[in-house]
């Protein structure tokens, strides 16, 4: 009996001899048998009594998870988290999500099969396995077939196993020794390992920080900002006066109303709304409001927008008392010049549209703060 032997190997010349040896060795020794072969030998699992591979079931489960998670993710992103209409399709247009669902299923299934087989079922990588140090290994990965009587942590009767293998026709017998147990790790070594890991993390962190911060804006990655053109008000030596911009030709007439010469919101309060409060003006105001303003201030102007919370800033509630007390001119001034996070909409709306928006906003403010007296007498109960 030996306590240090991991296994006893017998080498055979062909798979046929190996298969014939298995039953005769099995009859003589009680320890577990294993075989090492250069390629898969058909029927060997059955002869050794190994269980069937569970890889099929694993692949099925993970493939299903891949399919369901891909579809759920696509439905959630495209239909719930940030609903966008694309090509007039409904938000939850599952048909167009099928190709990606298929690809993700394949990805999950194949990686489960391949890596699950290698790392989970075959318990690799395993560099300290005693077999890898044996003299027989180079023969096994070349053209010989090894039958092994393995100790599995028990004491192994080396002589009996060797005799059984020899009787079964093995050309070469080798006793593979259990490797010496690893020495305990010294604190000094652990210290060094942890400091190396720590320094690597620090360096990687700094590099990532600077990489992310600087890399996308380093030349040539300047996002089309660097263009051969003149920006407004830019200096240029081409003309004698040194200006890049030119004055309009003498006698040029403006085609749009000149901007109001108001400097502040208080100055603007004096401006009155030049448009009459007719149905067509209100319709024009609604059209412009829904196009430009509603995305932030909400369709009801109550500051509850369709915008996702990811936007961050909180748009103003335009039906609140503060804004209701603004004069028309002050509201117009904000549309022209912006306020806080809101940019100027002067170039998005014409002057008439801006005043129409003011009228429409007044209608919304009144509708959301309606009094009983606003209801026509004949409709009251």
């Amino acid at each position: 009996m030996s306590n240090t032997a991991f296994s006893v190997l017998g080498l055979f010349d062909s798979s046929q001899q190996l298969m014939e040896a298995i039953p005769s060795v099995k009859a003589k020794v009680s320890a577990r048998l294993n075989a090492y072969t250069p390629y898969p030998v058909h029927g060997i699992g059955k002869a050794l009594g190994l269980r069937k591979s569970p890889v099929g079931g694993m692949v099925f489960v993970m493939g299903l998870i891949g399919a369901l998670s891909a579809m759920a993710f696509e439905l959630w992103t495209a239909g719930i988290d940030y609903p966008l209409v694309t090509a007039g399709k409904p938000y939850l247009s599952w048909q167009s999500f099928v190709p990606i669902m298929f690809e993700v299923t394949v990805l999950f299934a194949c990686f489960t099969s391949g890596l699950g087989m290698l790392f989970l079922l075959n318990r690799l990588p395993f560099f300290r396995h005693p077999m890898l140090r044996s003299k027989s290994m180079p023969f096994v990965t070349r053209d010989k077939f090894a039958l092994a009587v393995e100790a599995e942590g028990q004491a192994l009767d080396v002589d009996a196993a060797a005799a059984a293998l020899r009787a079964a026709g093995a050309q070469m017998i080798e006793v593979v020794e259990q490797p010496a147990p690893l020495a305990p790790v010294s604190p000094n070594f652990l210290m060094r390992v942890f400091s190396v890991i720590g320094i690597s993390c620090l360096v990687a962190g700094c590099l990532t920080y600077w990489g992310v911060k600087l890399f996308p804006v380093t030349i040539p990655m300047v996002h089309m900002l660097d263009q051969p053109r003149l920006d407004p008000q830019q200096e240029n030596s081409y003309f004698g006066d040194g200006f890049g911009m030119r004055m309009p030709v003498a006698g040029t007439v403006a085609r749009i109303p000149l901007p109001y010469a108001v400097k502040s919101q208080n100055d603007a309060s004096a401006l009155g709304n030049p448009l009459p409060r007719t149905e067509s003006v209100l319709k024009q105001g609604r059209q412009a409001y829904d196009t430009v303003c509603a995305v932030c201030h909400g369709l009801l102007a109550n500051g509850e927008p369709s915008l996702t919370s990811a936007y961050g800033a909180k748009p103003a509630n335009l039906v609140a008392e503060k804004i209701r007390n603004y004069s028309d001119g002050m509201i117009h001034f904000v549309i022209m010049n912006g306020k806080n996070a809101m940019p100027s909409y002067a170039s998005d709306l014409t002057q008439d549209e801006r005043w129409a928006v003011v009228h429409y906003l007044r209608a919304l403010q009144r509708a959301l703060n309606a009094k009983d007296t606003d209801i026509p007498k004949e409709s009251r109960k």
């Binding site: 062909s14 167009s96 396995h129």
Partner: protein
């Protein structure tokens, strides 16, 4: 091996239907190892260095021009509206297609138990991986700012928006990246037992360390092989669906749009066939070079080349059918824009490319009806080269000819490539063949453990009969 059993089964089969031997002469497992695995241990011959220098120069030219494109923007290409897709997307579709033969050989032929695949599967799989790597460069360059390519992936960002999963271009991102990672995994799994063989035969300690790490301690245990075979078969089964899906998804980039000449239901099968066609042509060319320069005539035999040439002939006939059907679809559509696109193919400015496509893809491969031509080096190199040229021009015609005259005559525009376009095309071939040459020197070009398992006498007889 079980010679009586083989003889008795063979007697039942008429001679003309019997399988010819896959390998020439006597091949033994140790002889196979010595020949295939020793190439990675020897110094490469002079011819290899000459070839490597040529492909390396082409590769560097291409990479330099790619860098120039990234720095200057894609204005240095000939692309201009309406021909926004030109050489870049042509190259992308072409190279993705080249990869398909490898997956077909490794996955579909494994399922069909076509034993001749063993000798060529490793090389063809490597070509798949390199072709997809080359292909992947083009959409990245095409977007103009390749360093922002990660925007195509769904990751939580501060804008709170996600990619448009209804777009075939995003399907493409998923299809191509899945295809690449699954091909790489499949190739690596097949390599593990061979890397273990290399680990155990090398004498250099540096090599031993590298091969030990790469082969993750593979020891050929019976229970390893049981899981391995099962997993390998399952991946092959799934990859079969994958290989059919990838070029279908690429074809959706075209077919889902409304461009006349693209919006056709025939596109997915047409693209998949074309991909396999071009891929096999590339494999045939590579195999002729490999078997002659690496002295592997008895392992990659004339039989292998002939079988692949038969596949090329089949695909060629299917391509001819697809071209005819394209004309028929145009006529049947009763749509004058589609009619116009079809006339542009055969009589427009780019008609020369259209006719070159038909000549190279449909007419020249018909030589393979003759057995003598299927087994002749000059003829098969001619046909394979012709198919490669023809398939590249097919994609060029589909893309440029359809785009240059679309619905609005005021926007019509002729496309002319610049030197940057041509240099990058050249560079893509340089990059591909540089990678192939490196692979042929550092890894076994033949799947030795798979080939050993299929040698005569490799498997034991048992009750179920023979595997021969």
């Amino acid at each position: 091996m079980n010679s009586e059993a083989v003889a008795s089964t063979n007697e039942l089969i008429p001679e003309i239907l019997r399988h010819p031997p896959v390998l020439d002469g006597v091949v033994t497992p140790d002889g196979l190892d010595d020949q295939v695995l020793s190439t990675v241990e020897r110094k490469p011959p002079r011819a290899w260095f000459i070839a490597f220098t040529c492909t390396g120069i082409a590769m560097l030219t291409g990479l330099g021009l790619m860098g120039y494109t990234a720095a200057m923007g894609i204005g240095v290409w000939g692309n201009n509206i309406p021909v926004a897709w030109a050489f870049d997307i042509t190259n992308f579709v072409f190279w993705i297609g080249i990869g398909h033969a490898g997956t077909l050989i490794s996955a579909i032929l494994l399922l069909f138990r076509a034993r001749w695949r063993n000798s060529i599967s490793r090389f063809a799989e490597a070509m798949t991986i390199f072709a997809v790597m080359v292909a992947g460069l083009f959409p990245l360059l095409h977007v103009g700012r390749p360093w922002l390519g990660f925007w195509l992936l769904p990751y939580p960002n501060q804008r709170g928006i996600w990619p448009n999963f209804r777009s075939p271009l995003i399907w493409d991102v998923f299809a191509v990246s899945t295809y690449f990672s699954v091909s790489l995994l499949f190739w690596y799994l097949g390599l593990v037992p061979d890397l273990a063989s290399l680990r155990d035969r090398t004498r250099s300690s540096v090599r031993k360390f590298i091969y030990s790490v790469l082969s993750v301690g593979w020891r050929g245990s019976a229970f390893h092989w049981i899981h391995f075979e099962r997993a390998y078969l399952i991946i092959a089964g799934i990859a079969t669906g994958l290989v059919l899906s990838v070029h279908s998804v690429v074809s959706f980039d075209f077919a889902v749009s409304l461009v006349p000449g693209w919006h056709m239901t025939i596109f997915p099968p047409y693209f998949v066939t074309g991909a396999i066609f071009a891929g096999f042509a590339m494999v045939v060319m590579a195999m002729v070079v490999v078997r002659t320069t690496m002295n592997l005539n008895h392992i990659i035999t004339m039989y292998h080349l002939e079988v692949m040439n038969k596949i090329i002939l089949t695909c060629s006939c299917l391509m001819g059918y697809a071209y005819l059907l394209e004309g028929w679809t145009a006529w049947y559509s009763m749509n004058k824009f589609v009619h116009h696109a079809f006339w542009a193919y055969i009589a427009g400015t780019y008609a020369w490319a259209g006719w070159l496509t038909i000549a190279c893809n449909v007419l020249v491969p018909q030589l393979f009806w003759v057995r003598r031509f299927r087994r002749s080096y000059p003829v098969m190199l001619l046909v394979a080269f012709g198919v490669t040229v023809g398939m590249w021009f097919e994609r060029f015609v589909i893309i440029v000819s359809s785009l240059h005259q679309d619905y609005m005559p005021s926007a019509w525009h002729l496309y002319k490539p610049t030197y940057v376009d041509i240099g990058i095309l050249l560079g893509s071939f340089g990059l591909f063949f540089t990678l192939v040459l490196l692979f042929a020197r550092v890894l076994p070009v033949i799947a030795t453990s798979e080939t050993k398992a299929a040698l005569p006498g490799a498997q034991p007889r048992h009750a179920g009969g023979s595997y021969e």
